[in-house]
C-alpha cells in the first residue's frame, strides 16, 4: 500500500513553504551570493598557493579534515531533534564560513593588525593581535552569514536550536579552511607536519573553537528572529548580544595567554599528551556552557511539541503511543532501529517519514485557526496513509500501532 502524495503547501503556514537559500529577489540573497562569488575566487587562489607549496601535505590536510567534518556534521544534525533544516541553507552556512568568512577575515585581521601595530608597535602586535582583533572580526564576519540566512529564510529560524545548527556549520567551515592554512603554513606542510597539526588542532582541540563560538552567535540570532511575538525587542537584543559576546569571549580566551598550559616544545610523549589536556582547560568551560544551552533548548522544544500535539493524540494523524515515542528522542531512534530489524530498511525509512510528518503536524497545529482547519485535516490524513503503508509491510505492524493505541478510523 502506498501512502498518499504529500499534501499541497498551504500558503499561510510558514512551515509548509520549505525554506530555501535560493531566493534571488531577496536583497540579502544578492549580498550573500555576491560576497560568496568574489571571495570564492580568492579562496580558490589561496588553495592553489597551498597546493603549490606542498602538494602532498595539502592533499593530506583535506583528507584528514574530511574525516573530521563528517562526524561533526552528524553530531550537529543529531542535536536538531525535531526538524531537519533545508540542505541549501545548511550548505550555505558551511560555505559562508569556509569561503566568505575566512577570506574576509584574512583581510580584516591584517588591517586591524596594522592598527594594533601602529598603536603598540610590531612586537606588541605580533603577540596581541590574535587576542585583540581576530576574535571580534572573525565572529562578526561569521555571524554576518547567519544574519543573511535569517534575512533570506526567517521561517527556518523557528527556535534557538536552528540557529545553533547554522552557526555550528558556519564555524565548522571556517575551522576547516583555517586548519588547512595552519597545516601548510605553520606546521610546515610536510606529511609529518600535517599530522602534527591534525593532532594539535583537530584531535586535541576539535571539540572547541569555531563550531562553539558561531553556534552561540547563531543561537542568539535565532532567538532574536524566532521570539518576535513572545519577547520585547530589548530583551531579544540583550540575549542575542549576550550570546554573541559569549562566543567572542570564548575566542579571546582561546587566543590569549591566559590558562595557557600548552608545552612550548614537544620533546616526548608526555608533551604530546599535554596538548589535549591544555586544550580542554581552555575549551571545556565554553563547551559545558553550550551543552547546557542546547539541553535547555531541547527541553523547550519537547515541551512545545507536547503542548502542540496534546490535542492531536488519538486522532488519525497520531496515536497515543506514537506521541510518547515522538517526545523521546532516544525512543524515536530505538523505534526506527527496531523497525529496521523487524521489517527492513524501507519500513524504517517510512517510519522516519511518519515521525517527521507528525512533527510537521505539530507545527501546523500551533498555527491552525481551529481543530478542523483544512490544513490539519490534510496533514492527519497524510500521516494516516503513511501509517497504513507501514502496516502493510510484513513485520512492521506491531510497532506502527500498539494494542492500546487505536486511532479513529
Amino acid at each position: 500500500m502506498d501512502p498518499l502524495p504529500p499534501p499541497p503547501p498551504p500558503a499561510r503556514h510558514r512551515w509548509a513553504a520549505r525554506g530555501t537559500l535560493f531566493r534571488p529577489r531577496e536583497p540579502a540573497f544578492a549580498l550573500f551570493a555576491a560576497i560568496l562569488l568574489v571571495t570564492g575566487f580568492l579562496a580558490v587562489e589561496q588553495q592553489e598557493v597551498f597546493r603549490e607549496l606542498s602538494p602532498s601535505g595539502w592533499a593530506l590536510s583535506w583528507v584528514l579534515l574530511a574525516l573530521y567534518v563528517l562526524p561533526v556534521v552528524l553530531l550537529v544534525l543529531a542535536l536538531d531533534l525535531y526538524e531537519r533544516e533545508p540542505v541549501s541553507l545548511m550548505v550555505g552556512a558551511f560555505l559562508w564560513g569556509a569561503v566568505a568568512a575566512t577570506t574576509l577575515a584574512a583581510f580584516a585581521n591584517e588591517g586591524w593588525g596594522l592598527v594594533v601595530a601602529r598603536l603598540g608597535g610590531p612586537e606588541f602586535a605580533s603577540r596581541w593581535t590574535a587576542v585583540l582583533t581576530a576574535p571580534l572580526a572573525e565572529e562578526v564576519l561569521k555571524a554576518s552569514g547567519i544574519v543573511l540566512l535569517a534575512l533570506i529564510a526567517p521561517e527556518e529560524f523557528d527556535d534557538v536550536l536552528d540557529g545553533f545548527v547554522y552557526g555550528a556549520l558556519c564555524g565548522l567551515g571556517f575551522a576547516v579552511v583555517e586548519d588547512v592554512f595552519y597545516f601548510v603554513s605553520v606546521f610546515g606542510g610536510t606529511p609529518t607536519g600535517v599530522l602534527a597539526g591534525f593532532w594539535v588542532r583537530v584531535i586535541s582541540s576539535g571539540l572547541y573553537g569555531h563550531v562553539l563560538y558561531t553556534g552561540l552567535s547563531g543561537m542568539g540570532i535565532a532567538y532574536f528572529v524566532s521570539r518576535k511575538d513572545e519577547e520585547p525587542l530589548g530583551r531579544r537584543i540583550a540575549v542575542a548580544t549576550g550570546l554573541f559576546v559569549a562566543g567572542v569571549a570564548g575566542h579571546v580566551l582561546w587566543n590569549s595567554p591566559l590558562l595557557d598550559a600548552f608545552p612550548a616544545q614537544v620533546r616526548d610523549v608526555w608533551d604530546l599528551l599535554r596538548i589535549p589536556l591544555a586544550a580542554a582547560l581552555k575549551g571545556l568551560p565554553l563547551l559545558a556552557f553550550v551543552i547546557v544551552l542546547v539541553r535547555l533548548a531541547h527541553r523547550r522544544e519537547r515541551h512545545w511539541l507536547a503542548l502542540a500535539l496534546r490535542s492531536e493524540a488519538g486522532s488519525e494523524g497520531l496515536t497515543v503511543t506514537e506521541l510518547e515515542i515522538l517526545l523521546d528522542p532516544v525512543a524515536r531512534r530505538r523505534s526506527r532501529r527496531d523497525m529496521r530489524r523487524r521489517a527492513g530498511a524501507r519500513a524504517a525509512r517510512l517510519l522516519r517519514r511518519l515521525q517527521r510528518e507528525q512533527v510537521n503536524l505539530a507545527m501546523a497545529r500551533t498555527r491552525a485557526a481551529g481543530p478542523d482547519d483544512p490544513v490539519l485535516v490534510v496533514k492527519r490524513a497524510y500521516c494516516r496513509s503513511l501509517r497504513d503503508a507501514l502496516a502493510a509491510i510484513p513485520g512492521a505492524a506491531p510497532a506502527a500501532r500498539g494494542p492500546s493505541d487505536v486511532a479513529p478510523g
Partner: protein, 186 residues
C-alpha cells in the same frame, strides 16, 4: 511573511544594507584607520647622494652602512635597511645579487621565496620583490624579511630589506612597502 521570490519592501532592505556596511567596516576599516595613523613624520632621511626616504611615524634612523651605502630605520622589533648602489641591470638581477652577496654570507640557514613579485614605485620605477626566512648570526629566532629592488634609468638603484623576528614582519610590511615605494631617487 512574503512568499518566496517576492521582492522585499523598503524596510526589509535596510537590515541587508546595514549588514553590508558592517562587513565593509570590519574588513576594510583597519586599513583606513591604520592609514590615518601612518603618516610621514620628521624630515626625509638621506640614504646616499640623491636618494632619500621618508620615515613613517614611529620609524627612526638607527644606523648607517658604508659598503654599500645605506641607512637602517627601526620601529620596535621591526627594521628597514635601505641601501643605494649604482646598477643598470634588471630589478630581479639586483634582488638575486643582494641575496647572494649580502644575505647568504651571514646566514646559517636561508629560504627565499620562489615567486618574484613585480612592483612599481609611486614615481613609476620598476621593481622586484621577494620574501625570505632564515637564521642569522647568533639570533635565536628565525628572521623573516622582504626585499624590494628598484632600478632607476639613471643607473642608481635602491634595495630595501624590511625584516624582523618571526611573526613581526606582517605588522611592518605595510609601512615597509609604503616607505619603499615612496623612496626618492634623484
Amino acid at each position: 511573511m512574503p512568499t518566496p521570490g517576492r521582492p522585499r519592501s523598503g524596510p526589509a532592505l535596510l537590515p541587508t544594507l546595514g549588514l553590508a556596511v558592517t562587513i565593509a567596516i570590519v574588513v576594510f576599516g583597519g586599513y583606513a584607520v591604520g592609514g590615518a595613523l601612518s603618516r610621514s613624520a620628521g624630515p626625509p632621511v638621506q640614504v646616499a647622494e640623491g636618494v632619500t626616504i621618508r620615515p613613517l611615524s614611529g620609524w627612526e634612523p638607527a644606523g648607517r652602512f658604508e659598503e654599500p651605502v645605506g641607512v637602517r630605520l627601526t620601529r620596535g622589533a621591526g627594521n628597514l635597511d635601505v641601501v643605494a648602489i649604482p646598477f643598470s641591470g634588471t630589478p630581479q638581477a639586483l634582488v638575486d645579487g643582494y641575496v647572494r652577496e649580502i644575505l647568504e654570507p651571514g646566514a646559517e640557514r636561508l629560504s627565499v621565496s620562489r615567486r618574484v613579485e613585480a612592483v612599481r614605485t609611486a614615481s613609476g620605477l620598476p621593481g622586484a620583490r621577494i620574501a625570505y626566512v632564515g637564521l642569522f648570526g647568533r639570533a635565536l629566532t628565525p628572521i623573516e624579511g622582504e626585499i624590494t629592488a628598484i632600478v632607476a634609468p639613471s643607473g642608481v638603484a635602491v634595495v630595501s630589506d624590511g625584516w624582523g623576528p618571526e611573526g613581526v614582519l606582517r605588522y611592518i610590511r605595510g609601512d615597509v612597502r609604503a616607505m619603499t615605494e615612496a623612496v626618492e631617487l634623484g
